[in-house]
């Protein structure tokens, strides 16, 4: 642990504000909460003689890493960081760790399945496959995202402004329309676009405590992205978790000298469009009554809600911004059999909010938030980049 994190422990006044913001605490009374599991337990861990360590560690896999505790702390302590770091010490039973390993490598499965989407989608809905997954500890009730492949159209002309697009797993293997929309937006904003020749950002690997492997992913991504930064490219992502990981997590968890150079140049697509003051032709707004769920990992970036700014300006007449609730899926968490019910229970406040009014459009940036909201409400959820890109003339 960096000295900075050790020092920050002393800033925890035990006011428990973080505790009141934890979505897990609210729905799972036995969960110790961010203050206790984070800074309090960390102090004990540092003494090296914490008698209840195993007892506490069993709860680490319940931390959603939504970072609402980090944002809430008035004194700059980040409880989630201790939780993520300490996840490596969870001693899982063999089957659970196999299941976690499988879920953490959604990137691989996406690459394979994306090559033959028809066959993969058929199998993912097959009851025998579902039973097999259930035996492995994957929630059989969970709807898997369909796989889709699409050849992306990218303009070939050379421009001064250059952007490299880090697609992430979801926009690559499941919803390439998002990727195409982001490319369209970037080109409209005057960028020469290139797709980063990279796979996973490492979020699912980190959240399953596989830190050694995550470090390797981080090193590879940083090395490649650094070359782009040196050539004057901006790194753009449309997935809030990828963006947060590239911006902050590499630097937080792995001692890689070049990570700062990369993190300073990573942009959320809407953050960049807003920063560049890009004007869109959305004079006749198509939608009214639209709700936008702010993903936790977007909220944690401390950039406000740039998508909401632009959507409000060019696409919709009235937009309800919901940043109050975590959707509960937390990446791979909601796919786990023993955690599925809890995941839906946490999401329920958001589902109720969305079901309360007949919204014509439900928006969110995050692929897994989308899956969860669709599962919990039956409503189709769309990435804001898709609706903004539609305002541009073909």
């Amino acid at each position: 642990m960096s000295d900075n994190r050790k020092e920050m422990l002393d800033f925890c006044l035990k006011c428990s504000i973080c505790h009141t913001q934890c979505p897990m605490v609210a729905k799972n009374p036995s969960y110790p909460g961010p203050k206790h599991l984070g800074p309090e337990a960390e102090r004990l861990r540092l003494t090296g003689k914490n008698p209840s360590r195993d007892e506490q560690n069993k709860y680490l896999s319940y931390c959603l890493n939504c970072k609402r505790c980090d944002e809430a702390c008035p004194h700059g302590v980040k409880p989630s960081v201790y939780n993520v770091k300490n996840k490596t010490s969870i001693n899982n039973a063999g089957q659970e760790s196999l299941r976690d390993w499988i879920l953490a490598h959604n990137d691989w499965w996406g690459r394979i399945a994306g090559k033959m989407p028809g066959v993969s989608n058929f199998f993912l809905k097959n009851p025998f496959i579902k039973t097999g997954m259930s035996l492995l500890g994957i929630a059989p009730q969970r709807s898997f995202p369909a796989y889709k492949s699409k050849k992306l159209k990218i303009a070939r002309d050379t421009k001064d402004k250059k952007a490299v697009y880090f697609r992430g797993c979801y926009a690559r293997s499941n919803e390439p329309d998002i990727a195409q929309s982001v490319i369209k937006l970037l080109e409209y904003a005057g960028y020469q676009v290139e797709i980063a020749p990279l796979g996973c950002c490492g979020t699912p690997v980190i959240s399953n405590g596989l830190m050694t492997e995550a470090k390797k992913i981080a090193e590879k991504n940083i090395q490649t992205l650094c070359q782009y930064v040196e050539k004057g490219y901006k790194i753009v992502s449309s997935c809030p978790s990828c963006t947060l990981t590239l911006k902050e997590e590499y630097d937080e968890f792995f001692d890689i000298p070049a990570s700062k150079k990369v993190s300073q140049n990573v942009w959320d697509i809407f953050e960049l469009l807003l920063h560049d003051n890009v004007e869109f032709p959305g004079s006749n707004k198509k939608f009214s009554r639209v709700i936008y769920h702010v993903p936790c990992h977007l909220k944690a970036q401390g950039i406000g809600t740039p998508a909401a700014n632009l959507i409000r300006k060019y696409v919709v007449n009235s937009l309800k911004v919901m940043d109050k609730y975590c959707c509960g899926i937390s990446g791979t968490f909601g796919f786990k059999k023993e955690k599925y019910d809890l995941s839906m229970k946490i999401g329920n406040d958001l589902f109720e909010e969305i079901k309360k009014e007949p919204y014509s459009l439900v928006l969110t940036d995050c692929g897994t938030c989308k899956l969860q909201i669709e599962q919990g409400t039956g409503q189709k959820v769309i990435h804001p980049a898709v609706v903004l890109a539609e305002t541009i003339e073909k």
Partner: protein
């Protein structure tokens, strides 16, 4: 870059009030704050002026008389700077705001009410949440109820102290206590928030009803720690009142304070509905030039710096506890603009922790003019489009006066009004 009319720095009570005033006036507002404000640790009750002069033994009944004395003597007190009229307006604004958010406060800026604290003292307060509207002098019997699983509230201790307090204030009532077992899993320590969440569960709620039903009458006041529901407080509080057929009083607890939390989240939801934006989790720094604030920079994830601009800026970052002012043993530092902070002339502290006159350091803070613009040592305006509110202001000791939330509310209101005027002048 997005331009705002008003940027509020800080999301405690004063910041949220400034944001409400600005937003209600039709201004676009951004709230920047390092974390959630101290409102989650405060009672959420609005104490305007409980004791003045601070050395006073008994609380002031009439707030306005205290205010008159304060304006005659307290040279730098924020109330004196903004004036009685602004205090009254701010209270009206607040009563109206809490009505809109569905957590309606009652009370006024004239008269103090006496309500029990979690230590059983009778404390003066002015504006109270809907779960504390009763008048304790109206009851023949008071039953203090605590919960076995909630270790931050001791009903018998509260009751014994209340008896002494009643004598001191010439009040009459039969005070008793009772502990109810909720049947919760206590493998870990439960705090007020945990209990409040559990109270929304009908099974747990019914346990409380079963124990108390028929044992309390119409003339009994049931006083409980303020854990009667978080978002579903209406269901829990009014449900319990109906089931037990008696008056119920919520006593604010040790942090996290559910009464403060309900207020904060109610206002924030309201602000979100008015399209107010929030930027949370990072420290803000001001850019200054030509005697004005030219923008605010905030760090974001990965260390990238964001710059935001507005016509007017409200500085509501709190004092030493809130993080608006950093103190070492010899110096004070205002964290956003580096505005000079007036330190006490003599000793910063006195040995008696509970000294009746308070601690000298508490009076330290930013000196301001009547528009709440920050001033330099010579009394010149430092930043003409910045308005200060809340505990970063100099000249008062909220702890001994019992004026913390009152100053936060009224100066937050006044800073909001000034910020709106500042936009309109341009």
């Amino acid at each position: 870059m997005v331009m705002y009319d008003v940027i509020v720095i800080g999301s405690g009570l004063s910041g949220l009030i400034s944001a409400s005033v600005s937003s209600k006036a039709g201004k676009s507002v951004l709230v920047i704050s390092k974390g959630l404000g101290n409102i989650y640790s405060s009672s959420g009750f609005i104490d305007i002026l409980g004791y003045y002069p601070p050395e006073r033994k008994l609380p002031r009944k009439n707030i306005k008389e205290g205010m008159k004395e304060l304006c005659a003597f307290g040279s730098q007190h924020p109330y004196k700077i903004i004036g009685q009229e602004a205090v009254d307006e701010a209270c009206d604004f607040f009563i109206n705001l809490t009505e809109i958010i569905g957590y309606p406060y009652s009370g006024n800026s004239e008269e103090n009410k006496l309500l029990p604290t979690a230590a059983g003292a009778l404390a003066p307060t002015a504006l109270v949440p809907p779960t504390a509207t009763c008048n304790i002098a109206d009851f023949e019997k008071i039953l203090v109820v605590g919960f076995e699983e909630y270790i931050d509230f001791y009903p018998s201790y509260v009751a014994e102290n209340l008896k002494c307090e009643f004598k001191k204030h010439n009040l009459n009532a039969d005070v008793e206590s009772k502990t109810v077992k909720l049947g919760l899993d206590t493998t870990r320590e439960l705090n007020s928030y945990d209990i409040a969440v559990q109270m929304e569960n009908s099974q747990i709620f019914n346990r409380v009803v079963d124990v108390l039903k028929g044992k309390v009458g119409k003339n009994t006041l049931v006083a409980m720690p303020a854990v009667l529901g978080v978002t579903k407080w209406q269901q829990v509080y009014y449900g319990l009142k109906e089931e037990l057929n008696c008056e119920i009083l919520e006593i604010p607890t040790l942090p996290p304070s559910i009464t403060g939390m309900r207020l904060a989240e109610g206002i924030k939801d309201y602000l979100s509905s008015l399209e107010v934006e929030f930027h949370m989790g990072y420290q803000a720094k001001g850019i200054t030039g030509d005697g004005t604030c030219q923008g605010i920079t905030v760090e974001s994830a990965g260390g990238k710096i964001k710059t935001y601009k507005a016509e007017s800026y409200v500085l509501a970052t709190g004092g030493i506890l809130g993080g608006g002012i950093n103190s070492t043993q010899r110096t004070f530092e205002e964290m956003v603009f580096g505005i000079p902070v007036a330190a006490p002339d003599g000793n910063w502290s006195v040995n008696d922790f509970f000294a009746p006159g308070g601690q000298p350091y508490a009076y330290s803070g930013i000196k301001v003019n009547e528009k709440l613009n920050p001033l330099d040592e010579k009394g010149n305006v430092l930043l003409a489009n910045v308005y200060c509110a809340g505990k970063n202001l100099a000249g008062y000791d909220p702890f001994v006066e019992k004026s913390g939330n009152g100053v936060a509310l009224t100066t937050g209101y006044q800073a909001g009004v000034a910020a709106v005027k500042g936009c309109d002048r341009k």
